[in-house]
Symmetry: C2
Subunit: 340 residues, 2 copies
């Protein structure tokens, strides 16, 4: 019997629980949520076998702990489980920012080799266990971010967890991860919020709302993201989000220049047509470039036992070590700059 504790039984936690219970035999899923009605709904939906009375009760004797709370709550959960967590227990999370989470793990789970950061790249704007779906992660990417101290046991166990979800595994270092998701997820979410709030504040809003069709709804849908989650993401991935917001502003200004200039019509048309062409390719599944070697995909890897050992590549170790050195270096630089 494998015992999995899910801390936070919202959309993500409950979807993980549903999938685990449907796809694995001999698994017990203990859930905990600080909102008891959320845990109750998850239990009613069959996402958890039972609901624990405290975080500590949930993790006692657990083989695997999945922390599926909003990013800013992860630190507190780590502090709470640290005194009671088993030496062999594997711990992962589902937070959207990884550098901050790995820093908390290094601080609060010091000496424990069982933690691997995780981020399933799936979701929907509905939230809570009522919206849970065992197929939520089917075919989606799931990033794992192993600290350099992570045990082989932890890596193989989380790998198997991801495979059990039907997701496609990618290993990355935390800083890379945060940069990439800022580009494709966090910044676009804020761009949707900016677009909607701007139009909503316009004098002409009643007319705009009446005329808004599918295109406007597409462009603003992310403004419906759970505000607590959106805020947590933003403040834990500030630097990368600011970087991509700046790039987006520059890109819009350059496009604006071409739109305004009657002599730039040819370059405007080329931009629009080339983008449409590349976009169609992207939606058809063509990346249109060779994959870079820094991205380690593990598709096609065999599904082993759920709790199993002995899979770590030297490459992966080197990769994460390298990345952590880079982050440490940058932090040191920041520190120096602050002191100046």
């Amino acid at each position: 019997m494998t015992r999995v504790a899910i801390l936070g039984t919202g959309l993500i936690g409950a979807s993980i629980g549903l999938r685990l219970r449907q796809s694995l035999k001999d698994v017990e899923v203990v859930g905990f949520d600080r909102f008891t009605d959320v845990a109750r709904t998850a239990e009613k939906r069959g996402a958890i076998t039972s609901s624990a009375r405290s975080v500590q009760d949930a993790v006692k004797g657990a083989d695997v702990v999945v922390i599926a709370v909003p990013v800013l709550a992860i630190e507190r959960v780590m502090q709470e489980i640290a005194p009671v967590i088993g030496k062999e227990t594997v711990i992962t999370d589902t937070g959207s920012s990884k550098l901050q989470v790995l820093e908390w793990a290094a601080e609060h789970l010091r000496g424990h080799s069982g933690f691997i950061g995780g981020h399933p790249m799936a979701g929907k704007t509905e939230f809570g266990p009522a919206a849970a779906d065992p197929d939520l992660f089917e075919g989606a990417r799931w990033v794992l971010v192993p600290p350099v101290t992570a045990s082989e046991h932890a890596i193989s166990t989380t790998t198997n967890l991801v495979e059990a979800m039907g997701a496609r595994l990618m290993f990355m270092d935390a800083d890379e991860h945060d940069a990439y998701v800022a580009a494709v997820s966090h910044m676009p979410m804020l761009a949707a919020t900016a677009l909607f709030s701007m139009e909503r504040a316009s004098e002409a809003w009643p007319e705009l709302a009446a005329l808004a069709a599918g295109g406007f709804r597409d462009m603003t849908r992310l403004a419906a993201t759970d505000p607590a989650m959106a805020f947590d993401i933003t403040v834990t991935n500030r630097d990368h989000i600011v970087h991509w917001l700046d790039r987006y502003v520059v890109t819009l200004q350059e496009l604006r220049r071409r739109v305004a200039d009657e002599d730039a019509e040819e370059s405007l048309y080329k931009l629009i047509a080339a983008t449409e062409w590349e976009y169609t390719g992207f939606r058809a599944g063509n990346v249109g470039r060779e994959q870079r070697s820094t991205m380690s995909t593990l598709e096609g890897m065999d599904f082993g036992d759920f709790i199993a050992g002995s899979w770590v590549t030297d490459k992966l170790q080197a990769l994460t070590k390298e990345a952590e050195d880079r982050v440490a270096e940058r932090d040191a630089e920041k520190q120096i700059r602050r002191q100046l």
Copy 2:
């Protein structure tokens, strides 16, 4: 027997034809498309009764002419039909920019009181008659922009056409229309193009493409708009689009300031939470403000005969006159500025 000519049998033209033939008795829909295979597909789909060999053949004897070609092609079509169009024929178009179209109509259909500008606020990123759908306009807004010289007959006929499509009618003046659609449709389309082209051009594109999930697809879907259509829209509504691009850039810069500033977290959270709350209301159908009186909606108007007369309000006449004076004034100002 009512004879309707549809010039341009792509997604919009063919969808109008399908709906007309399904919902009205005694209607003959003659189609023309400069690409003969497009006309053939529309005919096979049942969107048109027959395919004419030329624009002139299509409009001869037509009670209603619907110009459903890309915006920049509308001028040429008007020039082509002008010599053969019947005095009583009602003419409308489906272009996304209206000021430019009304200027062409004033020039090329001079003295003809049958033209009413039109813009159905519906569509999809797929294009061509194969994607046609008789319910494409069901519940969508359809803007009519009558020139001040328009006959009552033309207004009532186009009104009935819109109702036959299942769409919700709004009257606006051309400049108002162009300002509003720049905000909710044209600028967001270009923002999607900017976002996708920026990420596609990034060094990290293979990783970004792998991690891009539903949110990124929502935010970039409009980059798949037919490039010819996107370009035509942009160059015929330049000023309003530039205005809204500038506002969007300022809004993003203001948001960026709040994200970057650790002391602005409260205001950042408030912005995110308030926007989510308002967005949820918007999607539930609440505009959240009183409708302004300059917007004349005609919902609930009875459906009369397809070709029928005598419905014009003094208010509408005054409104369009006022708007055209305003535009004429602005043009005169532009002229003066150029001469300086």
